[in-house]
């Protein structure tokens, strides 16, 4: 089985600032891959390059077997994306949003109807199908956005901080949805700030200043860095080297 994502020496510079500095990693098919890092570490820049929204400065990347930079449109048929900012149409209803993206990805009317109803059932939105999306609470919006990103059953789905600002109960439900997607064979590439969520991932990488500071399963990383939780590891890596002792001192 080939890898869902293969990245080699991927780099993006903005002027003299290097946002993503020659990162290399692979994500296996069906994996839930946690892409961690502090604010400004380069997570969103990397995800935007992998989804074809941003041109790289150098390096290579394949997603779902296609080259992101020369076969961008083929890649786009195979991926779903949920951006950091809520990006469904607030002035369209739940059903209209689902139908729009279903239509764009080439589903026929029967498939759109079927998947809309299934989705509304899963999300518990059956009674709100004809409400404008703008009127939904944030947690529901996020779950809907994730479901819409999966409407065409993509091989890989990219989630950029999907649970930001969401309550703990909804976060738990969200992760249940992530596992369900992975169980259906979709590779999940997810960025997050929440280290408890990172523990749910099959493998994680931690980005520090545009580079990958650590990568492996949560258990491997804890053993390698001799820490009790990923949270500790994150704090240690995310701090500049000189401050490590301060971090270790409990600050």
């Amino acid at each position: 089985m080939s890898n869902a994502i293969e990245v080699q020496e991927l780099t993006r510079k903005f002027g003299s600032f290097t946002a993503v500095n020659a990162i290399t990693f692979t994500v296996g098919s069906g994996e839930v891959f946690g892409f961690l890092g502090a604010n400004g570490a380069g997570k969103t820049t990397a995800i935007r390059m992998l989804t074809g929204l941003l041109a790289p400065t150098s390096g290579e990347a394949q997603v779902a077997g296609f080259d992101v930079f020369t076969q961008a449109e083929e890649v786009k048929r195979k991926i779903g994306y949920m951006s950091q900012r809520f990006s469904l149409y607030g002035d369209l209803t739940v059903r209209e949003n689902i139908a729009l993206y279903g239509g764009i990805y080439g589903l026929d009317d029967g498939e759109i109807r079927e998947r809309s109803e299934a989705m509304l059932g899963h999300l518990g939105l059956r009674d709100s199908g004809d409400d404008l999306v703008a009127s939904l609470p944030l947690g529901w919006k996020q779950k809907l956005a994730f479901s819409v990103a999966l409407v065409h059953q993509p091989a890989v789905v990219f989630l950029d901080e999907p649970t930001g600002g969401v309550d703990p109960v909804t976060r738990r439900q969200f992760w249940e949805m992530i596992y369900a997607a992975a169980a259906d064979g979709t590779t999940v590439f997810v960025t997050t700030h929440y280290m408890d969520e990172a523990e749910y991932c099959d493998r994680v990488s931690i980005m520090v200043d545009g580079r990958i500071g650590a990568m492996g399963t949560p258990a491997e990383l804890k053993a390698e860095f001799k820490v009790g939780t990923l949270d500790e590891l994150f704090v240690r890596l995310a701090r500049p080297a000189g401050n490590a002792t301060v971090a270790g001192g409990g600050g």
Binding site: R48, T51, G52, L53, L54, A55, A72, E73, E74, K76, R77, I79, G80, Y81, S83, R85, F86, S87, L88, Y89, D91, L92, E96, A99, L100, Y101, G103, I104, Y105, G106
Partner: protein, 382 residues
């Protein structure tokens, strides 16, 4: 094609849920048309006329009566002194001076013609020409009434009010306005104003459209899908294009039924022209929307582009009066071609064959602009 259908449906849903936008699209342009059609005119009413009647005969009073009865001129002052009249002109108390010389009636009876002098303040050259034209028409009418072949106006126009009334140049004014014989300015202005109001609203709405999705973040969600760039631009263009065309049709109805503008040519030609024109006009809006990062930028760019092509459209100042380079520039101005086309069809009854140049230019401009808009819109940030 299926993708296009879904995207167009989405645009229409969004447009019809936005009451502000609907107001901008349908109420604003039509209200502007009614307002501007009555306000933007070169017509002169109630010009103040200083009468110097040195003859005091029934015939000379007839001249004054005919001029004032038209409503174009009001007899604001009278005296026998040309010097006083000049003072009034200098002081800005009068717009025109009518001098009926002594023996006017006698000469008229004896020689079948007699001069009157009509002095116009030409600070505003446009108004001066209009007043002169009214006066000569009214006097010609009076002459005909008296069954006299011709009553030549011995007219004089002073270049500025401080030029003394001397060195009188005689102008034998015989005018006939073709296609718009009554010089009805509404007929002339309304087609152009209609084109402008539809253009302004169409350009602004398209210019705001894509950039609004950029600001809202919804564009990224579309850009990660396999939508073709041309499909995307078509989906943005078609809904606003069809609504702008509807706007144009409503404006034309208003122009015909309410403002009394004639439609002498074929409506089919007008709408064919409108359909092609709007592709270019709205394409410019989409191009602006693609280059802009914020709605504010889009607004500024739209205004500067609109301003330039409104002022260089030939609507306010005739293109033939512009320097040659400006006339060349106007060739690239879709508004100029479409304004010409509208006037030619509505007022002159021109047909497709008479308007080949306009149709070719509008088509070329439309294709170029659309190509630019599609190329400018990029799904990937470089």
């Amino acid at each position: 094609m299926r993708t296009l259908r879904f995207l167009i449906h989405k645009e229409f849903l969004q447009i019809f849920r936005d009451r502000m936008l609907l107001g901008m699209l349908f109420i604003m342009p039509l209200a502007q048309l009614l307002l501007l059609a009555n306000a933007a005119t070169f017509e002169v009413r109630s010009a103040r006329m200083y009468v110097v009647d040195q003859d005091g005969s029934p015939a000379s009073r007839g001249v004054v009566d005919r001029l004032t009865a038209s409503g174009r001129f009001i007899n604001s002052a009278s005296s026998a002194s040309i010097a006083l009249a000049n003072e009034a002109m200098l002081g800005g108390a009068t717009d025109v001076i009518l001098v009926v010389p002594r023996h006017f009636e006698r000469d008229l009876v004896r020689d079948q013609h007699a001069p009157v002098q009509f002095i116009v303040n030409a600070e505003d050259g446009g108004a001066a020409g209009v007043m002169q034209s009214y006066a000569s028409r009214i006097l010609a009418g009076y002459a005909a009434e008296l069954s006299i072949k011709e009553l030549p106006g011995n007219m004089m126009i002073t270049g500025a009010p401080d030029v003394p009334v001397a060195g009188r140049a005689t102008i034998d004014v015989r005018r006939r306005g073709w296609y718009n014989p009554d010089l009805d300015y509404a007929d002339y202005m309304v087609p152009g104003i209609l084109v402008i109001v539809v253009t302004v609203v169409g350009t602004l709405l398209t210019a705001m459209n894509i950039v609004r999705e950029k600001e809202a973040g919804t564009l990224d969600q579309l850009n990660v899908t396999p939508i073709k760039r041309s499909t995307f631009i078509a989906a943005k263009l078609i809904p606003l294009w069809s609504l702008a065309l509807l706007d144009f049709a409503l404006g034309l109805l208003l122009a015909y039924f309410v403002l009394g503008v004639p439609i002498r040519g074929s409506l089919l030609v007008v709408f064919l022209g409108g359909a092609i024109y709007l592709v270019g006009a709205l394409g410019i809006g989409l191009w602006i929307s693609s280059i802009s990062e914020t709605q504010q930028q889009a607004m500024f760019v739209s205004f500067s582009i609109l301003m330039t092509y409104l002022l260089m459209s030939g609507l306010f100042t005739p293109l033939r009066a512009m320097p040659e380079w400006a006339q060349w520039l106007a060739e690239a101005n879709p508004l100029a071609h479409f304004t010409n086309l509208m006037r030619a069809v509505l007022l002159k009854g021109a047909g497709l064959r008479d308007l080949m140049h306009q149709f070719v230019m509008l088509t070329v401009i439309g294709l170029v602009v659309l190509t630019l808009a599609v190329r400018q819109y990029s799904k990937r940030t470089e």
